[in-house]
């Protein structure tokens, strides 16, 4: 008997008697007997909670975690930041963790207000008037942004910079198979930034132009040029932004983006082997009725008290069904709340300072690497940049593991490059140690 089910044998008997049944099997008379399993599942028998915990500790011991085993200079959409204890504590309150989607606003003001605050922070960060209450991750946000642009323009063609995160581009291609998306790419210059200029396709126009800010290789793209291309195509401009960069750089919204999406992991969420992360999504007000995902709005209760509720629900799948703006239902609310708390912990000045620390760390590493001959290809960057390795980047990365370093990420199909990232968590001592080890390996 699993201990989560409260029923005692006696109670089960009694309940069955109340139902006029004599066994639990009888509950399943509506299932044809040919479909009923007679054998137990071919799975191990139950364990105590401590045994399961110990089993997972062993799984954990077989991984090289950052900080305890590895000093990370890897980014690529997942960053090793210092996390605030307050956000961790507050985000793990059971009232947030074990609540459902706020369908009954009278008893969900906690989640709803926290999401309203989150939406405000994301909108301000991205320089756009509205934001939603989260999507699955950066990739999902990009896919939804494209769907929205396609829905708005009624066009199938999108122009994507190859500087956009390869994982996001792959997801876009995967889901684009359903929506018959035509994806066209913009190449990169030697400095890792996108080569704009009117697209060479012979179509009438595109649904969207998509660039990273900074892009996957670290380059800070010229959003105004992207905007010009979009205007040419009468397309929407979608920017995939690194939220941390926006502590230092002008926000994409103010630079002309129509939709800004991004991965919110950097905003106080652990690396977590890639998930759960946090898809950010903001847009201009005119697209509000095309927005994917949940939106929390302000209203009043019948005593006139300010309160919050999910709103514009007619966009959503449970009401609009096959005509919904998106199929999303469960999103990443808990991550959104945690990110909001972390952003509030950093606050206006902390966020600015944090961004600067990331910048300084990356540029310090770049300058140290230049000294040993590894000159970054990326000309203008924030906290991430690319170097070209002589031999196999994967090989070099492998050897650096032995020194206790996670030496950047290798871009898919580009085994002669490493993209390095530095956050505020990396000290000068760690950076110097990293450069020393790299030097040894390259000698």
């Amino acid at each position: 008997m699993p201990s989560f089910a409260p029923h005692t044998e006696e109670e089960i008997e009694q309940m069955l008697t109340d139902l006029g049944m004599s066994s639990l099997e009888e509950l399943y008379t509506s299932i044809p007997s040919t479909l009923m399993r007679t054998e137990p599942l071919a799975l191990p028998k139950d364990l105590s909670e401590i045994e399961v915990l110990e089993q997972f500790s062993r799984f954990g011991a077989d991984n090289s975690a950052v900080r305890s085993s590895l000093i990370s200079f890897a980014g690529g959409g997942a960053y090793d930041h210092d996390l605030s204890a307050a956000a961790r504590h507050l985000g793990s309150q059971s009232a947030f963790v074990t609540a459902y989607t706020p369908y009954q606003p009278e008893v969900a003001q906690g989640v709803l207000q926290a999401l309203f605050e989150f939406q405000t922070m994301v909108a301000r960060l991205f320089g756009l008037p509205i934001a939603n209450a989260s999507l699955y991750d950066g990739a999902a946000s990009l896919v939804e942004a494209v769907n929205m642009a396609v829905g708005f323009t009624k066009r199938q063609r999108v122009i994507v910079s190859t500087g956009v995160h390869p994982g996001y581009r792959e997801a876009l291609a995967t889901f684009g198979a359903g929506t018959h998306l035509e994806i066209e790419h913009l190449g990169l210059a030697a400095d890792d930034s996108t080569i704009f200029g009117s697209s060479d396709g012979d179509h009438a126009g595109a649904a969207a132009v998509i660039v990273g800010y900074p892009n996957y290789f670290g380059a800070i793209e010229n959003i105004e040029q992207a905007r010009a291309l979009a205007d040419n195509e009468e397309a929407l401009l979608i920017v995939v932004a690194d939220p941390i960069a926006l502590g230092l750089l002008r926000s994409p919204g103010t630079l002309g983006a129509d939709i800004v999406v991004g991965e919110g992991q950097s905003l106080g969420i652990p690396l977590s082997f890639g998930g759960p992360y946090l898809g950010l999504f903001a847009a201009r007000t005119e697209y509000v009725r095309l927005m994917p995902g949940r939106l929390v709005g302000e209203t009043r209760d019948l005593e006139g008290r300010r309160s919050f509720v999910t709103t514009l629900r007619t966009r959503e799948q449970d009401i609009r069904r096959e005509k919904a703006t998106s199929n999303v239902c469960t999103n990443q609310t808990l991550m959104a709340i945690q990110a909001a708390i972390h952003m509030a912990w950093l606050g206006k000045r902390g966020f600015q300072l944090l961004a600067r620390r990331n910048y300084d760390g990356a540029h310090y590493l770049a300058s140290r690497l230049s000294e040993i001959g590894l000159v970054p290809s990326t000309a203008k960057f924030f906290r991430e940049f690319t170097v070209h390795t002589m031999g196999s980047a994967t090989e070099l990365q492998h050897r650096m593991l032995q020194h206790g370093f996670l030496a950047g990420v290798v871009p898919p199909n580009l085994d002669d490059r490493l993209v390095f990232a530095v956050t505020e968590a990396r000290t000068r001592t760690e950076i110097d140690g990293f450069v020393d080890s790299l030097m040894k390996e390259l000698r």
Binding site: E11, L43, D137
Partner: protein, 504 residues
């Protein structure tokens, strides 16, 4: 019928007022210029010049709130105290499987060697994670009766779309381009939405009076343009589709595939398997059946498992051992539809689910489903005098009743019943879904609630009905004991205020 459960206390949030009844200010209203919470480490990294990127540098700082840590903590603690959750009491929310989530899984989710791993760490340094995911895939496949699975989809809806894209790739691989996917009229909204996103047309098959797919109508609908069908079984009315084999035969006979929406798996784990019923593609909602907490709306996880002849289309990468389990690496199937997540899905949620499965084990998993079904049938029968049970056959893990009679007699609607139940200390059931039942109340007690709690819910519902008959206005005025009372939702939608800055 006589009922055995005395009205013992249980399952009800009776926390009553804690103090004050004012609004909670927003974090922005608590903000004071130059106040702070943060502290950053001293990295000793020198300040680097900004010359090269000067034209990109913003002049202003992002207007994030400026609060003390003390106020930050108090604010979000107070917000938490304004929210109902499973940990406070029962959540009989049909279709959502809100069950108690084991606390030790929180500790699993906090293990350093799991949470602090960068997703792009080379495979030789993440053997623990690869093994864990492989083991979970094995559990998912054994439970669903499938061959292999992707763990990438971060929620059920994402799993649906993934499954439909696999369906699409399968047809394409055979040179076919069917255009339609059949869904029953009781389907969850994500199903038709996913069908559209997969580039298919959703075709609705009606339910018969018994709440089950009308097989004759299905036969009429299906032709060689049919790519497949999406079903959940037990269906959204909580009923098992007895003729499932026949239904799927119809689909398979035209070369279509059958998709199983695993949102209702909680009824049948260890009892019956979608694979044995003839389904080809199955998603599981780990945040429902396998007790990963719902987080106020997410994160979830929606692995998609497929039969043997579809494994080639699964999204990559997949954790695979090429040396009989000695070591693991990432492998992407040759004809993969491609990634559906930037990395490998909601990995930590996946770990929680595996922990839950290991804890319950082979037999506990089956008992879980049996008791979920027992609870639903008992409660359905217990409240049959208060509301019309929509369908008479034994239900599975959830059931639908209607408040139509009550509405006709007193004006009190399903919505009012839902709101009134809040005052009694319980979360409301799902209302007005599925759409095929009028004034629907969809109730799913789950196996984690005790008979005493079920009895308490039943009594609370009875009391609401009694009040409706004597003083309907009192019911319309409920809830009274909640942090706020009924909201003006129309006002929210008319001129949406979605951020602090949109407020006048």
């Amino acid at each position: 019928m006589k009922f055995s459960m005395a009205s013992a206390p249980g399952g009800r949030a009776a926390s009553s007022p804690l103090m004050g009844d004012a609004e909670e200010p927003t974090i922005f209203e608590l903000s004071v210029p130059a106040r702070r919470s943060f502290s950053l480490r001293d990295t000793a990294v020198p300040s680097m010049d900004l010359d090269e990127i000067q034209s990109w540098v913003r002049e202003d700082a992002v207007e994030l709130p400026e609060v003390s840590e003390r106020d930050l903590v108090a604010h979000y603690t107070r917000l938490a105290s304004r929210n109902y959750s499973v940990d406070l009491g029962a959540y009989p929310l049909g279709s959502c499987t809100m069950k108690y989530n084991p606390k030790f899984a929180d500790q699993v989710a906090a293990i350093d060697g799991l949470t602090n791993v960068h997703p792009l760490t080379p495979p030789e340094a993440i053997q623990g994670w690869l093994r864990l995911l492989d083991e979970l895939e094995h559990y998912v496949c054994e439970i669903t009766g499938m061959a292999q699975a992707t763990l990438q989809p971060p929620a059920g809806a994402s799993g649906e779309l993934t499954g439909l894209l696999i369906m699409r790739a399968y047809h394409a691989s055979r040179g076919r381009k069917p255009t339609k996917v059949v869904i029953p009229d009781s389907a969850h909204g994500t199903n038709p939405a996913s069908v559209s996103l997969a580039g298919y047309e959703a075709v609705t098959v009606p339910s018969g009076a018994d709440g089950l797919v009308d097989l004759a109508k299905l036969r009429e609908l299906v032709d060689e343009n049919t790519a497949g069908i999406m079903l959940t079984n037990p269906n959204t009315l909580g009923l098992f589709e007895r003729e499932i084999r026949e239904i799927l035969d119809v689909i398979h006979s035209v070369g279509g595939l059958a998709y199983y929406d695993g949102a209702n798996l909680n009824a049948i784990v260890g009892v019956a398997r979608p694979g044995d019923m003839g389904f080809d593609i199955v998603h599981s909602n780990l945040h429902k059946t396998f007790a990963t907490p719902h987080g106020g709306g997410g994160p979830g996880a929606g692995p998609v498992a497929v039969v043997e002849h579809l494994v080639d289309f699964l999204p990559g990468p997949l954790p695979r051992s090429l040396d009989g389990g000695a070591s693991y690496t990432w492998v992407t199937p040759e004809r993969s539809i491609g990634r559906v997540h930037a990395f490998y899905g909601n990995a930590v949620v996946l770990a929680r689910a595996l922990a839950f499965m290991q804890y319950l084990g082979r037999d506990g998993l089956r008992t879980m489903s049996e008791l979920a079904v027992l609870n639903a049938n008992w409660l359905k029968t217990r409240i049959a005098d208060s509301f019309e049970v929509a369908y008479q056959q034994p239900c599975m893990h959830e059931f639908v009743v209607s408040a139509e009679r009550l509405k006709a007699e007193t004006g009190v609607r399903a919505l009012d019943v839902a709101k009134a139940l809040l005052d009694a200390g319980f979360h409301s059931p799902t209302v007005y879904f599925p759409l095929v039942v009028h004034e629907a109340l969809m109730i799913e007690p789950t196996e984690t609630e005790s008979p005493q709690t079920l009895e308490a819910i039943a009594q609370a519902l009875e009391e609401i009905v009694a009040t409706a008959r004597t003083d309907a206005a009192a019911v319309f005025a409920m809830p009274r004991n909640t942090p706020v009372r009924r909201l003006d939702e129309a006002m929210a939608a008319r001129k949406p205020i979605l951020t602090e800055d949109q407020r006048q």
